[in-house]
Amino acid sequence: MFEKPLGMRDTLPALYEAKKKIRNAMSSQIESWGYQFIETPTLEYYETIGEASAILDRQLFKLLDSQGHTLVLRPDMTAPIARVAASRLYQGEYPQRIAYSANVFRAQQHEGGRPAEFEQIGVEYIGDTTTSADAEVISLMIASLKQAGLTNFTVPIGHIGYVKALFMEIVGNEARADVLQRYLYEKNYVGYREHVKKLPLSSIDKQRLLSLLQLRGNDSKIEKAKDLVECEEGKNAAAELEMLWKKLEAFGVTEHIKIDFNLVSHMSYYTGILFEVYAENVGFLVGNGGRYDHLFEKFDRPAPATGFGIRVDRLLEALDLPQEEPEIHCVIFSAEQREEAIRFAMSKREKGERVILQDIAGVKDVDACTNAFAKNTFFLGTTRKEEA
């Protein structure tokens, strides 16, 4: 066996077919909402894309070009799309609705078996600050997951602005707020509670910080979140989620939605409403997204934006599709009937069948050859014979 680099995988026909099915289902849904697909280069400059992306530096594949510039294999599609959308190349006015389906690259720290390259399908909705944009992105994500065949999944939605406002209000400075936020980011609720107990705060404030952990469930938690926070930013953030909920109701997707004010997907990238997708049968996150209003500042054209990205490999695992190779019809011919065989194959191909034309002179073991196909037709000598 010739080895591949750590985390790199081959995709064989059966898996390829399954992935294609998912990709087609999702992209047709995304296109039907008016989003346009674009492609960007696999390699980007580290200084522009590597540093702007939400992916940790140690997960980037870096290399040098012949002039000594540091390049990265794109770790996500959001930063490249922001680069394109902010550039003059893209003449469009905001808001812009852009979609992508592309492989992204992330070096793996843990076991070598985890994929370091995987396909992501997603959208970016740029230039609209309203919660209508968030609602559209979340609803589109749900519609495209459903189109791919996913049924049992949950989308927890949170608001990083709420979390930050509550922390600032209670602990007073950003460094201390960051410590609390990091516990949530690391999903370490035990550490969070321990830390809160040790803070020099009134027991009321400590209780408020602990109550944040309870703000998880249905939309009734939004009201509770409003009561918990005093400052205007916090109240506004909760009100935003409330508006979002109403808009999601209008889209008819709230059966998949949960509210979770503890959701912290990233330490600094997201700026407002954010969400994740979890599905039955797969132990890991299927996709996520949210509002990232600061990314475009890095490309000198500030704009609000929101989007989602779905990992095709994880979705595939969740869907548990039968991985079947496509049915192929094999036409085996000998020289005497070459023309008839070609005509026959062409007519079948036009009807959408997948047809192989095989000169019998090129096959060593005819039985082994025919056994590999669902259907065989023989044009040998002067006879024609069909065999299922």
């Binding site: 469930g217 599905a279 132990g283």
Partner: protein, 209 residues
Amino acid sequence: MSDKLTIAMPKGRIFEEAAQLLVKAGYNLPPEFEDSRKLIIDVPDEPFRFMLAKPMDVTTYVEHGVADLGIAGKDVMLEEERDVYEVLDLQISKCYLAVAGLPDVKIKGVAPKIATKYPNIASSYFRENGEQVEIIKLNGSIELAPLIGLADRIVDIVSTGRTLKENGLVELEHIADITSRLIVNPVSYRLKDQQIDEIVERLSSVVSQ
């Protein structure tokens, strides 16, 4: 797939303490699992079953979602850094991570050798303290390493200190306190939240704060 939750439990001492805690929380567990060699144990009266794993592997099972919940030592969590929710400190199997070595031995060389079952914890601890060390990973009987000259010091968990004492070692530095934690797979935490919240609540009411 069954509707029952799967709880990954560490084999051995922690299992008994954890099982006692569940009984205290009002769960009706079958009495005979002590001597069973089965790795998957059904709990007919309750909405969960147990799978028994090596303590070091519990976080792995939970991260991959084959177990919804797990009971894992904080030492394992620090070592493995798995993507799981740490929801409750069960306050059982209390111990701590420490650096130990032979008494009155001057460390020689530019990079003292450290033997440990926890290479990640050890290397980040010494890195944070600005010490240059060489880590040697062992799978057990760590105390042996300084006695026969494999390592200058060890990083290991200490509960009573008896093993150290009996082997003539002394504790040199305290790294972190350890207890067992209830951990949850991120997907289960979302999709089976009501079932999981109930277990968390019932357990947290019996855990001594």
